[in-house]
Symmetry: D2
Subunit: 250 residues, 4 copies
């Protein structure tokens, strides 16, 4: 039986994680390791400055006082004898579209699984209502995962419209869109009168062309984006070389 | 005069940040906004669960109780009237090679600058000794930055060998290499006898071919890798489409 | 029906809190507000630098991303219409004897209740086994609390031997004993080779005379110590006055 | 030459700490160990869940990623060969009057020194302007400290009016007054629309009789309150015994 490692970034008590667990319980042996607190926005961050505590909860889930990537690292390394076959992260409360992907702890948990050598899927619900819809999508993909062969260091980023299952229009394979710059910070005064700055909500869509994740969700489709962990801008290697040559000749 | 925003992930008191400041002081008006604590490994994480404090220090640097990406966001948005022209992050204590890039707060600070619309350069010293060498590299690149035209959403990741300036062999434009999976966590017992897990050092090189950042540093060259923030694995879009078609036909 | 506010410092998922809840469920309407993480050693600390999140869990308990004193403050102020009549904190995993009291988050939670105008009891089990024994002690005291009239700004610190109920030798009203200085810190090397310092276990008993909490527990008795929140050393007021007079005459 | 350990709770970069350092530099060999961040309200809390980093700053001060009590513990234990003779904490930005004392990290730093066997003085300025006045008060007391013999486990809590030195009316030895309950929390909405609760400013004075610290400051006097670390309400021991007797006879 396959061994599935589940994590998320909304925290070990989030309804989305519970929904993912329930949707996948027939698809393998589940191990759930998730942050003890809301870690939305944690990206790939790893906790390097202190050791981590791994705590078993009453419901069989494990809680870690760290980030989503910490959770996957500990869920894979050293604490259990067997490594998982597949890492599934989610169901995120809210979509991870466009460059949300760069900040998302949900995507990071999947990416960490991928870096540790496992297949990996991140699942997000573009809202907080129909977790069951996202659960069915996750179950379908996990059920078929063995027949998908991706290039090394790839993972799937899945976003699901927040609608009942029967209202899903289909599935689209998409590229990442882009958002514009984030809004100005929210300024708040603390009770002692000092000004503080709260990072604002994400920016508006700047690139939501027809082949993007934004457009798929907007049209009511499940969006599946294959992601890579190679950040090299290969097409710019020559530009940089030419620039350096000009520099050294000047 | 150009406006340069400097940040890092080793914290506002790190010698590498001071060295970067000193190396660039002739190249523009400098604004330094950096984390109050060591935030190595912070990746692109943003602090969303609480507001941030921005504190002016005696030396004119600004300290933020948050992550490198928080610092750049606050350094660009709302607190000052003018936006910076260029974001430079570093000098990191230690290299950011291969998939270190995914976890690095130094690279994330530059990436945040890029996401907010600025040109951005991350500079790391592959050691903790010859910050002056890395400072000279940074100054050279910043001095010539206006003549480099990169595609949108690109940035430069620069790694510098930890040797005296005269021992630098040259500059190579490289692609990201890859490390293998990280080692097992360090198990420590706290003073009350409870087991805790400390995330281990990075894994060994798994891909350090001749055109990688690893190989450049190994050979004594400065490594410059153009990075992108589009994580789409474009070459896998069709594979995923075919897989889904087979799924829906079965 | 009385309204009881329960908290602790071991965190909202600690078995000791659950045991306290179960033991007291017949004695009033219970509201449980406790830290989301282990906050042993938190003392009276309040979180002033950021706002707090209050999260309802599946089991009806409330979790706060803060300290025990934060929890009691939020459990009393503003979120519910009615104030509690009594604050009970615990059951702590481990005793709070002698000057442990100064550092204990369990005692602090009770003290915060007392500062906000409620009667307050802190309950600790000197071990981690017989929570049921401590639960019965708590229930007995809570059942009789209305007939106890303490001076203003007082609370009860209760410690219970970690033995079956039938092995309890009785109850003693005690004074705080004292421990000697804490041991040296545990030095640990992080996985990157840097030295870190972990605060050691508490010191040995320095004053455990027959009328102290230490002696009661040692002899198998429940220890009840009335505490105050006036820290003035009244007997030293004249000594300090004389010292100042000598100073100003010299 | 005496060895003085200085700490505070406003953080290692606070002007009040610098002012204390400058005022005391002629009175002994100074060692400064203070939190890397603002830790106001930290009370006696100790960091037990993770090891601490101790970092030397450029100005010779040491920074700890922990609480004031952590700082004093590390400043006394194990890192240096010699123990300090006297611990002075401050100059706090703002007064520590009445039951502020229970929450104050400044007082806690002094108390930790006392618990570790040293004489200890906490100094607070009731404002943020005339640190020099408080520095002169601190220097006077430190200069005379050897001739003061306090009972064991006592310390001095000193509050200074925020006025020029020549406007100080004199010195009064006082008892702790009391504040009323704290105000309701400040409710803030985060940028994502979720409600959060920020602990409010302290309550109004409830007991500021002529012999209290409140009254001394109000009248323009320096207030010196001897504090103890024995929290036993000795005068209530019999009341509790009688209550328990009645309980067991009923």
């Amino acid at each position: 039986m396959r061994k599935l490692l589940l994590s998320n970034d909304d925290g070990v008590h989030a309804p989305g994680l519970r929904a993912l667990h329930d949707a996948l319980s027939a698809y393998g042996r589940l191990r759930v390791v998730a942050p003890d607190r809301d870690k939305s926005g944690a990206s790939n961050s790893l906790t390097l400055t202190r050791p981590l505590a791994l705590t078993a909860l009453d419901n069989g889930f494990y809680s870690v006082d760290g980030t989503p990537a910490d959770c996957v690292y500990l869920g894979v390394n050293g604490v259990w004898d067997e490594k998982p076959d597949l890492v599934i992260s989610g169901i995120n409360h809210g979509g991870n579209l466009g460059d949300d992907v760069l900040y998302s702890g949900t995507v990071a948990a999947a990416m960490e699984g991928r870096n540790l050598g496992m297949a990996a899927i991140a699942v997000s619900l573009c809202g907080e209502r129909y977790f069951e819809t996202a659960g069915r999508v996750a179950a379908t993909l996990v059920g078929a995962a063995e027949s998908l062969s991706l290039p090394p260091r790839s993972l799937l980023n899945v976003n699901v419209p927040d609608v009942p299952w029967e209202d899903i229009q289909g599935v689209r394979v998409t590229r990442m869109g882009y958002r514009g710059p984030a809004a100005q910070p929210l300024r708040v005064q603390d009770p002692r009168g000092r000004e503080r700055y709260w990072i604002a909500a994400v920016g508006d869509n700047a690139d939501d062309g027809a082949d993007t994740d934004f457009a798929a969700i907007e049209a009511g489709y499940v969006s599946i984006t294959p992601l890579q962990t190679d950040l090299t801008r290969h097409t710019a290697l020559d530009d940089v070389r030419n620039w350096l040559d000009a520099l050294s000749n000047s």
